[in-house]
Symmetry: C2
Subunit: 312 residues, 2 copies
């Protein structure tokens, strides 16, 4: 019988290296946190409330999966951390903006985020809308700055990939399909498409960003794009499993919301065991994508299992 | 006695050329409209509702003041229209996103925009939030594309100026101060600061954008920045006067909202005649900024009077 509290851990090959990955992620998260803190304005002056809300929404925790991906893939190409940490901060700001807007009453109407009041609950709706807006702007601004990369062509490539991943043909488009699909039973292919857009595009971009920063050969860039896409899919399936099996305390947000709101999930379509098997397949594909990279990519291999084994 | 329906037209020097400006603006507006139409995705596919809302919010009218400024200043440096029209489309998309979010119930709660239902009234709040988000992303994406300028350094300069004008230290910051100031009597200096951010920064950027595209000398770039800042200030003061004196039919939106919502306006602080005189001073400064430019800049001179004489 499957233990309902973990995702098929007996089948994993890399979970023995979990502690190394957790150390690496914690170390990167600290760097990313410090970089966000530095890049956002301090909280003084007439726009203090706006800046407070921007800082509240982005600082103070989270695993920084997207930021970690950007930094870890960049390190494969010996990109200095001071550059990749800026790209990581940028993608985490964009991710934070999307959460702030998703939590709004007119959207998912969520009161909790990482165990804390969501931004519109802590401040108010207008402030949350504007803080999200300004975080998006800041995310693009950071990529345009010379400190991110000395070569303007590289910065432009980052901005283009970032915009495509996060706009109407990416994250925001996926969020829209998700809203429209509520209460309807979507077929598996549509659920896959929606998640590929909603969460997949930004995770894929994060893995690709390191290759862009590192001016990697197109073939290696494509490998990391594919790795990111697989990680994104595995992550989302695991998220559905978590929503169905974990407690609110573990999640730091309301649990069981998907079923309550009639969302089409992998769990609804495949069952819990079926969803776990699908996540496992995605994780294995992600690891295959890393074939051209040596031991330097071991933490990225561990990450493939981490995303399907996590409890929050 | 001052005629209350116009802003001191007897003192204007350029209003005789108004028809030439109106023709030029109408011609540019048509080009900008066509460019936005081309740059936004067509309305097919799963994200049709999102794209519909993006198109609804940006297409179908408006004077395109910001886009006109970008195209008219670019033409001073012989930038091809196909490039400046893209920058114009980008700034109009960003302006449209700000209006969509400003009109939301949690913000200004406005049902009408240009005489039509505002985006959240035509669609729904969630769609309006997402359409605004995606329009901002698209505005940055366009600037990053090679079609906007062959030189990546120029594109980066545009993106940087654009982000600074529209983020927490620009438009969004100004909107926040405006929300916080509601119901309080702000002193004139704070009202000036708030408007310099809220509407001024993006109008200033628009005038500057043509100079950036044209790789103008720093001194000329600075002249157009200053021109844009003065136009922006004149525009906002005239807006306050219009809100106090024009009808809803003329405005295409609810009139008298500023007084009803207790906003601190130039009219409340200076009176209608005082506000008109201030707008006139700004328009004159804008014209002085154009001193280094010859007859090619005549329409930009006309524009300084146009913004304070307009009825909507």
């Amino acid at each position: 019988m499957t233990d309902p509290t973990t995702i098929a851990p007996s089948q994993t090959q890399s979970s023995a290296n979990g502690p190394l990955l957790k150390q690496a992620m914690a170390a990167r998260a600290k760097v990313i946190e410090g970089t966000i803190d530095q890049l956002l304005p301090p909280t003084t002056g007439g726009d203090a409330r706006l800046v407070d809300a921007m800082r509240y929404a982005t600082l103070g925790g989270g695993k920084r999966l997207r930021g970690y991906l950007a930094m870890a893939t960049a390190s494969l190409f010996d990109v200095p951390d001071c550059q990749s940490a800026r790209v990581a901060a940028s993608v985490e700001m964009l991710h934070a903006y999307s959460l702030v807007h998703d939590d709004l009453p007119a959207m998912d109407d969520d009161d909790l985020r990482r165990g804390q009041p969501s931004t519109h609950r802590k401040f108010d709706e207008a402030t949350a809308i504007l803080a999200g807006d300004a975080l998006q702007t800041k995310a693009f601004e950071i990529l345009a700055e010379a400190e991110t990369h000395e070569n303007a062509v590289v910065r432009i490539a980052l901005i283009t990939a970032f915009a495509q991943a996060s706009g109407a043909a990416g994250m925001v488009g996926g969020q829209m399909i998700d809203m429209e699909g509520e209460g309807r039973a979507l077929p598996l292919e549509e659920v896959r498409h929606l998640h590929a857009l909603k969460t997949g595009c930004l995770i894929r971009y994060s893995a690709e960003a390191g290759a862009i920063l590192g001016q990697a050969k197109p073939e290696l860039q494509q490998r990391l794009r594919s790795y990111g896409a697989n990680i994104g899919a595995a992550f989302q399936i695991a998220d559905d499993v978590l929503d169905a099996t974990a407690t609110a305390e573990e999640l730091g947000k309301t649990a069981g919301k998907d079923e309550a709101s009639g969302k089409s999930t992998y769990v609804a379509l495949l069952g819990i065991d079926g969803a776990r098997a699908e996540a496992e397949r995605m994780a294995k594909s992600a690891i295959e994508d890393l074939a051209p990279f040596g031991a330097q990519a071991d933490r990225l291999r561990d990450l493939a299992y981490y995303v399907i084994e996590r409890r929050n």
